[in-house]
Symmetry: C2
Subunit: 519 residues, 2 copies
């Protein structure tokens, strides 16, 4: 295919061009002294005022403006019209060029989940199949690319390479793999470059998807800031057509840096994003593969947002079949009836994030075994911004609905993927806030086993049960033996990791017992 060649004009000018060549004996035009205010204090320095006047007079204003100070009409007529104007050119207003992606039905990629917790899958690998077919279906329109700092395969999205290659224009070696000049996966070990490419791609009316190691997306914090500010401001500009959302997948996350350790553990990009204006920010933590598919489909259809999706790549239990996943994502958060006792609970075990969800279900199992009189409700959060009041975020859940889910008077033990204080921040205006106890990542970590990471941060199942004993009124007195048992099992599991270098069989082999609600 031949393509037109567009001429490009490169026009270099001296810094401060046409300004005073020197001021007070110092070179000014063509030097750093032209930055900002080349002639200071014109109100108090008559010589500077005279220099300023002479400078501006060189533009010959009498030829440009009429006796009323208005621009002469023959000059105004020289300006380009309509889409020839720089800002109105569709290439600078990419939303005008934007075409919807052709998306396959994400339900076709579902993991079969006959019962919760019986099937194991890698969520991002499942997503990779969906993205592969998004790539295939949109090749004719050439408007979809996937970006990532050399982690497309590491983040288990390698099925993409059945549909396309990595973009590569330079020399190739025989051992190279899936490199081609027309590849549509943009890989370079520079988050900055990926972010810049993707922003340009979106701003010119195309679609993209950006896959990252969670800890290292902080590299583009400052670039993200500017994009989020641009989205916020342009929402108020009527002639700006919305562009496709910027969607980050954060995988290889804080809880599974088994071999990389502390340097790779940082879930704080969510906090950084949450500081920006609510109307342009969305954050999702799908707990399994089917919810991830539903979230990804939603993100690829959205406009004008930054979507942050956090999802692990490791093999993990699947909880929801596709219909349940769609309904759960639609609600954004909700009670998992299949894991909850009927009626009013004694304690709410809430969770957000794939690893905390597994741990919460294991804790619910322990409560049922060891504290049989205690009624548990399990709540899962996939759309983090649902926690905020409706007055604070467009996705915010109305208070009465929130109160029905979380109760206003029962302890809530909340197991969260990231830094725990964000949950307090989002929920602090809620009626049940004083009952909320959040566990999350508190900056403790090293190169260790997955369960040891949870123990280091008091987010493990045993600690969650200890929190239940401590928080449910009356339990502290009568369930001291259960609390002691949890402390002992925790110590035993920790000792096992030190002796064997892996997690104890009781952790590794635990699976959801398939208990359905007691009603």
């Amino acid at each position: 295919m031949t393509r037109p060649r567009w001429p490009m004009v490169v026009f270099c000018t001296p810094k401060g061009w046409t300004g005073p060549s020197e001021v007070d004996g110092q070179k000014t035009e063509g030097s750093w002294r032209s930055h900002q205010v080349p002639l200071g204090d014109v109100a108090g320095n008559p010589e500077h005022l005279q220099r300023l006047e002479a400078w501006l007079a060189r533009y010959r204003p009498e030829e440009l403006f009429d006796e009323n100070g208005a621009l002469r009409p023959e000059l105004a007529a020289l300006a380009p019209k309509g889409p020839r104007r720089m800002g109105a050119n569709p290439h600078a207003n990419g939303g005008l060029l934007l075409k919807d992606l052709t998306l396959p039905d994400f339900r076709d990629y579902a993991v079969e989940v006959p019962k919760p917790g019986q099937v194991v899958a890698e969520a991002t690998r499942v997503l990779g199949r969906f993205l592969r077919d998004v790539m295939r279906l949109n090749k004719p329109t050439r408007n979809f690319r996937v970006f990532g700092p050399d982690e497309t395969a590491s983040n288990r999205l390698a099925d993409l390479f059945e549909a396309t290659d990595r973009a590569w224009m330079a020399e190739t070696l025989p051992e190279d793999d899936h490199l081609a000049p027309d590849g549509r996966v943009m890989e370079i070990l520079s988050e900055h470059t990926c972010q810049g490419w993707l922003e340009g791609y979106l701003l010119t009316g195309r679609h993209g998807f950006f896959s990252n190691y969670e800890a290292f997306i902080h590299i583009v914090d400052s670039m993200f800031n500017q994009h989020a500010k641009w989205l916020k401001v342009t929402r108020g500009i009527p002639w700006r057509a919305p562009i496709a959302s910027l969607t980050y997948l954060l995988s290889s996350h804080v809880w599974r840096q088994d071999h990389n350790g502390f340097s790779h553990q940082d879930p704080g990009f969510i906090d950084h994003v949450a500081n920006k204006k609510a109307e342009v920010i969305r954050v999702y933590l799908p707990p399994d593969a089917n919810t991830l598919l539903s979230v990804a489909d939603h993100c690829l259809r959205s406009r004008g947002y930054v979507n942050v999706v956090v999802a692990g790549k490791q093999p993990q239990e699947q909880w929801l079949d596709m219909d349940a996943a769609i309904a759960h994502c639609e609600n954004g958060l909700g009670v998992w009836d299949w894991a909850s006792d009927a009626g009013a609970p004694d304690v709410v075990l809430a969770c957000c994030g794939d690893v905390p969800t597994l741990e919460t279900l294991a804790a619910a199992d322990l409560v049922r075994r060891h504290l049989p009189g205690v009624r548990v409700r399990v709540v899962n959060v996939v759309d983090l911004m649902r926690l905020q009041p409706a007055s604070e975020h467009p996705h915010g859940m109305p208070d009465d609905e929130f109160d029905r889910v979380f109760t206003t008077d029962r302890p809530i033990i909340f197991a969260y993927h990231g830094y725990p204080w964000l949950i307090h921040r989002l929920a602090y205006r809620r009626h049940g806030h004083d009952n909320l106890h959040v566990r999350g990542y508190k900056e403790e970590g090293t190169t260790t086993t997955p369960f040891d990471m949870l123990m280091l941060n008091d987010l493990d199942r045993f600690h969650l049960v200890m929190d239940v004993v401590d928080r449910v009124p009356g339990l502290a007195a009568r369930a001291g033996d259960v609390r002691r048992l949890m402390v002992e099992r925790r110590a035993a599991c920790r000792a096992y990791t030190r002796e064997h270098g892996e997690d104890a069989p009781e952790i590794r082999d635990w699976s959801w017992p398939g208990k359905t609600r007691t009603s």
Copy 2:
């Protein structure tokens, strides 16, 4: 001065050197396939297991280990001893080489403040004089440098150039200014490079100071993370000697981007820093020049922390003479008696940051004029981490002391420099938390006047008074006219900015009336 030349050995090896040259027909040694695990599934693939064994056998373990598997003593004896070991070399354990800075008495640089609010000064310019003399006094030991992305002069630290120059080894032009190969101000418009230089300088046992535009320090979020993690981990390593703290001055801050606008407005680095481990993090927001001097002196003496200091560079009212400044910084936060009514207050007006402090004092003045029966207490926070409980941060104020300052039952209107939710996060365990109403930057901004910025974010004096009317029990009913007056004056000030392009004289010319406490 001649210096020894140190030889440097550069040793390049192929990736995966000595590993299998190919695996399953694919080139491995010297290629990307050597990354991580070159031979997969050795437990299930006998050929891979055999290749692994052959690979490891090439190291001839029978020559290295004795019959018990222990390293042969004659080989162990080859390892270097004491400080010749790489990790024990003082150049890799810079704390061993660290010498205290020789510091001038910071009190000698004090701004004379005969009465609060009567003198105007630029806080960072005052700091620049102190830093200039720190530079002079430590030239003989060559262990102090100032770093900044080309903003040393813009951030009003230019007096440094009386003591040294910018480090510059390349060509110079006649119009250049203060460049020299032995300059000790490290300036480059790359926050990354400055941060990297400074980390290396500190890690090898020297001292530094890093001056930045507040919004753009996010560029090094990810680098800061790694340094903070290193500080946290090395606190637990007994042989690691503490290094000098990494001190950031964030100036040119969110509230005074009069000409730069929304892209330059982001106070979120404080939030980012606050996610890291409490024992290595310090955050200071001195409200004027003398408190800034006291904080800077403290930071330059500290070890093993990241200090974040936020201070504006614009001319602003000075509040505390040097003795009062020292006492205030010592307390970290406290009641400003000279601005407060005696006895139990009806409302606490708290503030943190230079611009919010000015605004809070202006609000206190308005309350006194328009709501004469309402007793006001003004509390200023200079050490942000004092807000946390003592259980959460080493600087945390004990609860009983906190309660005496903030009360447990009166409304607290808190005017904060940054994103308001951080104050809730730090204080949410405090008894008075439910009475706390925080105003701060809520991501509204543009290129506009200083007071318009405050109004856009509801942090202006009029809105603070409206908050007082809304929160003090009984006032909403009987002070409706005052509230309306505030709304009207706010609207008038906004209209003035739109007509004149600058703030109204009633704002520009306001000064603290010198009221002392009524007792």
